[in-house]
């Protein structure tokens, strides 16, 4: 990994079943991830993907996501999942800097239909057991 490298882009598809499974596995039962009426009451256009589900998938852009020591995510726009369909998310990652010891800083852009929905940064530690 060196400065300026672009990682192979990652495409992730979410449907309502994915959200239900994540709600159960994570304990996040916020109704904005299952009920379109309540999501609209919360000011959202419809049922949206859990922010941390989006982050979990975005980090799969790395061969070894377990190297991630620090990550930050800014959720800019809701990722809406239609009732009977799905939404495709694209994750682009570019290496911003690499330190002498191998620590790498990577910028990630998460988009839907070429609109940015989340901006992330990740710091990847050197290869060693924590």
């Amino acid at each position: 990994m060196k400065r300026g490298d672009r990682l192979p882009p990652l495409r992730v598809v979410f449907d309502r079943t994915d959200l239900t499974r994540y709600a159960e596995a994570s304990g996040d039962h916020n109704p904005i991830h299952r009920d379109p009426e309540l999501a609209r009451e919360a000011g959202l256009p419809g049922v949206v993907v859990h922010g941390m589900l989006l982050v979990a998938h975005a980090l799969r852009v790395f061969d070894r996501p377990e190297r991630v020591r620090v990550a930050s995510a800014q959720f800019l726009r809701p990722v809406v999942v239609p009732r009977d369909g799905s939404v495709e998310v694209l994750v682009d990652a570019a290496v911003a800097a690499v330190e002498e010891d191998g620590t790498a800083f990577v910028d990630l852009r998460v988009s839907v239909a070429e609109r940015l929905v989340a901006r992330m940064t990740a710091e990847l530690g050197i290869e060693r057991d924590m």
């Binding site: 596995a25 919360a42 922010g51 941390m52 377990e66 990550a71 924590m130």
Partner: protein
């Protein structure tokens, strides 16, 4: 005054959230399409749960309101091991109102059963409206 202002500066001591047994971690890994033993967002998600738990307390003035993630930054300091009893301590850092939208910023510490800090995180949440 922004919502939750009464809580600013308050620290909610660590509360045990769960035991990271193999089944629980595996179902989480399956739900995020991860092939790793413990996905890197397992502890960060628990930090979000801890913050939500605090904001849902009656004294927060936020109980029953919608809460939406706006920003999350986390730093892993140690590994989550199977069988570990994980707790979360939460501090409410600030609240403010931006363009009619209430924002709450909280800091979390995920601790092992032995009290070692495994993860720190800072969350910004928006509180868009009243849930009926």
């Amino acid at each position: 005054m922004p919502v939750g202002a009464e809580l600013v500066g308050r620290r909610f001591d660590a509360v045990v959230m769960l035991v990271a047994d193999a089944d629980r971690v595996r179902s989480f890994a399956d739900a995020v399409g991860s092939s790793e033993t413990v996905p890197p967002t397992f502890a960060p998600e628990l930090a979000v749960r801890g913050a939500m738990r605090v904001l849902d307390k009656p004294e927060s003035g936020l109980a029953g309101r919608f809460v939406v993630l706006r920003e999350h930054r986390f730093t892993a300091l140690g590994p989550v091991r199977f069988g570990e009893r994980l707790s979360v301590a939460v501090t409410v850092l600030s609240t403010r109102t931006v363009a009619g939208c209430d924002l709450v910023v909280t800091a979390q510490e995920i601790c092992s059963g032995a009290g070692e800090v495994l993860l720190t995180s800072t969350l910004t949440l928006t509180v868009p409206g009243v849930r009926r």
